[in-house]
Amino acid sequence: MDFLDEPFPDVGTYEDFHTIDWLREKSRDTDRHRKITSKSKESIWEFIKSLLDAWSGWVVMLLIGLLAGTLAGVIDLAVDWMTDLKEGVCLSAFWYSHEQCCWTSSETTFEDRDKCPLWQKWSELLVNQSEGASAYILNYLMYILWALLFAFLAVSLVRVFAPYACGSGIPEIKTILSGFIIRGYLGKWTLLIKTVTLVLVVSSGLSLGKEGPLVHVACCCGNFFSSLFSKYSKNEGKRREVLSAAAAAGVSVAFGAPIGGVLFSLEEVSYYFPLKTLWRSFFAALVAAFTLRSINPFGNSRLVLFYVEYHTPWYMAELFPFILLGVFGGLWGTLFTRCNIAWCRRRKTTRLGKYPVLEVIVVTTITAIIAYPNPYTRQSTSELISELFNDCGALESSQLCDYINDPNMTRPVDDIPDRPAGVGVYTAMWQLALALIFKIVITIFTFGMKIPSGLFIPSMAVGAMAGRMVGIGVEQLAYHHHDWIIFRNWCRPGADCVTPGLYAMVGAAACLGGVTRMTVSLVVIMFELTGGLEYIVPLMAAAVTSKWVADAFGKEGIYEAHIHLNGYPFLDVKDEFTHRTLATDVMRPRRGEPPLSVLTQDSMTVEDVETLIKETDYNGFPVVVSRDSERLIGFAQRRELILAIKNARQRQEGIVSNSIMYFTEEPPELPANSPHPLKLRRILNLSPFTVTDLTPMETVVDIFRKLGLRQCLVTRSGRLLGIITKKDVLRHMAQMANQDPESIMFN
């Protein structure tokens, strides 16, 4: 019977769209570790192997950080170039973006900082005119054509090569990290296509961001490197530790915020986050940030385009507009989540979903047509946010900083007092208002299309626009009415009181918090972005307010809402179960249903079992002593039964359809000429989790969450009554959410 002790091939791997068994993965890892430790005492080579095994975790983190940083640098550089390609091209070297092309030129003047003879717009290149109506129309047309080309290429690539590369990726990664298997979602083709098409869609001017997809890209890198080491490739539980760290590295390169990345992975993405993962995630995030910095995509050793570094103080009285911005963020988050989910549901159920390529083309055309006339939507969203975050010194030439300067002013550069707004500022205000409305509407339709799309940047843009408008309003109010009681104490005439850039930052944080319901990670990301600890209090005030306002309307952030829309089996750790139902209310079989399909310990033949497997589609069967005394022995998985029976029929002699299948140590007493019995004790889980039928569901849900169970058996006085699976728990929770908690007390 030696080969029965060999591991069955393929036993231990999971099928697609199934949940893993966390406890079994953990025990397998402990076994592996114990084996390596015991063998390491045998020889030097074994000792070295055990050292390599211990270090393999750190090596994987290093590799993930390097690759994630490199890919993020490539994406940033390529987006920079391709975004400017819509407007013109550099004649000296076609691979330079607008800013890079004019870098060495000495013909830039103070008034026309952006113009240089080497970089020409399409109208100049094609018809040799740079001003006038025909030039404008030609530029407009070229902009739309380039945007369409990029979007069409992106959606075609996604459709032909890697359909899993569409969407943000964060809802699916959350589900995968909670134990779900989606084969191919973190594969190599998905990685390649997501990287390539992400550049294309961000450059096409659509209202989406690259942060969410960068998390997906980093997790694909994590999956790829973990498949190189058997410690992680054979163990799904350990692999998810690596993926948590990879997600942290992804956010770290997206925002230039390593600590924020780790906290984001902890708060939003991961399901189980042991302390070891915390340290390793931090390492991966740091390596990724360092790699990105050495590639230096933005030319000034900063990681993100909108890094600001001013330190002007803020005043207590300004908390009131900050809280208002928080309320706006919460309201916008609710509005966006509801509308986007409604639109995605429509896409899922009606004919709209049959034309993904056409949908992308239509949305891109509409976006390009409306975005071009307004200078604030024509530029890329990252540049817009950067401009809105920036404080206006005396040297800024943008329209937003067109204040009326006092000609006798002799103050140094960064201490400009509050000034009255000039014409440019008023123009900028209504242009920003139009851009705000446009962005709010178009993002609802853009997020969720069949292209890689994130929503961090559009949310931050919406918040930054709202915040800047509020900031300019407060600034002008303080300038023109500095004798009002609220301004009198802290805003003397001639002082620099209000920084509209800070309001933009607070607005961005509020809107991002309202949509994703991030708390600590949001504040940490924002203050790592700004480099100033002075602004933690306004950021926290806005984040807390927006989360309270948004939670008042619904508990789900956008990612949880998409998880519910797709129906993934995700048991959220944040949901609280407060109803008073019992295990017996949720277990299967209910009253009136056929009895539980069980296997007996030693009285079923191979043929009986095969029939049972064929007729039902349950994922596992409890094993009882006999049909009369339904005392529980253990639990057997369907997949392992199938594989074991198939193997036995092929390899073992004497196994026929009439052979008795037994799960005990010793074969049962059989008559003399009966065929050889089949022992399957190896595949039996002898310690299935059981609860009694009067266990409150609160405890059962807690057990499922904390231990990551897939199913739980219900017994009474030792007799098996029924089974509760994770799906039953989720359905029960969904059912309870629509009813009053106190009114249900049926038994």
Partner: protein
Amino acid sequence: MASLWRGGLLRLGSVLGLSGLALSVLLLVQLTDAAKNFEDVRCKCICPPYKENPGHIYNKNISQKDCDCLHVVEPMPVRGPDVEAYCLRCECKYEERSSVTIKVTIIIYLSILGLLLLYMVYLTLVEPILKRRLFGHSQLLQSDDDVGDHQPFANAHDVLARSRSRANVLNKVEYAQQRWKLQVQEQRKSVFDRHVVLS
């Protein structure tokens, strides 16, 4: 065992490929640090209008510690005591970039994009025509849905079944390719048609 070796070789190949790519990019970055292009560093000083001088932007290739108004602004438009006032308003920033990195990255990206587009055109347009010409007359079992199926990889099943019998390297590659096509088709069905995942 052979399949294990093959799987291992494939894995090794992809590892080498990807890590080679990453390392080459990193190496180029280091090389650019070592041999910095003369034009890749600059100190940029922006000076606003002052009295009757218009605003001006000055660029100069200079080290970071010398990056201030007095070293960069040449010729100084104002004289004597006004220099300090003028310089107080100017803002000088040291910037550096790596033109080699930009060039290499863009060219690598465009070549990968171009290769993918070519492969996509081949898979969607050229291959069905070729296959129909090669196997068209002998395909008695080809059902009507396959002929009218506009999805790429529509005939993956048939090729998979046929290629199982032959055994040499080229057909192993084709076998792997057909298996990949089946996987992508499955993914496409669940994402685009049934809207089960990623709606």
